[in-house]
Symmetry: none
Amino acid sequence: MEAARENEVLHVGDLEIRPDEGLAMAGDRVLVLSVREFGLLVALARRAGRIVRREDLYALVWGSSLRQGDRSIDVYVHKLRTKLEDAMPEWKFIHTHVGFGYRLTPELSQAFHTRTTSP
Amino acid sequence: MEAARENEVLHVGDLEIRPDEGLAMAGDRVLVLSVREFGLLVALARRAGRIVRREDLYALVWGSSLRQGDRSIDVYVHKLRTKLEDAMPEWKFIHTHVGFGYRLTPELSQAFHTRTTSP
DNA sequence: ACGGCTCTTTCACAGCCGGTTCACGGCTCG
DNA sequence: CGAGCCGTGAACCGGCTGTGAAAGAGCCGT
């Protein structure tokens, strides 16, 4: 696990993250995150714009080495995406790089069409 | 325990707190609080909007380090919540962040919001 | 010192939340 | 088409938190 810098404040787009307080805000709204969700967000934010491998994410957040077949990261990336999208629908933050890992970067969503329910 | 600033007056929403006088008011109504309740409110108010860890709260209000299994904080958070809700039912002040701590922020009670999400 | 009160701490139980795992399905690439 | 990778909803279960009540401690006036 990575130690928290003193009074560290991370900014990624309109996200503001204070690792030592366990606090993350989307604009002026407080995000309600679990411990794992928050750890994942911090790990990604400290490497914003760069791809972070799953093994590295797991080591940073879970504090041990990723076991074969463990899907925890996928699940928590999904949970984080959901909460980030709820707070800021027009932005997409977590990008998948198949076979490599995940990358945190604020990008405008292209999807604002055909929001009229699905079959 | 944290020393009181000279003539310090804290404002959180319609709450007004004077630490050096032991006085807390909800609008124009005086809150009747015990020593512990008041200390807890002051500690939270001085960090309003940010998450305060249980260990920090205990150190600030009780003046010693939180022992494993001590539930005092939970009990007094509950007592404070009850009195604050009695005084200002439409506002929710103390928010729980599971695994992190508590955060003091005035937010309108959920009952006054209209659900516009969830499929 | 005594009795009664309030405040604080502890206890017990219940409910909820979050972490993990499973299962299914879509997608990509060879 | 087959294998691997990823998205996603849901079940399981342990731990954390909410809450009412009992037990213990301190305070106060008489």
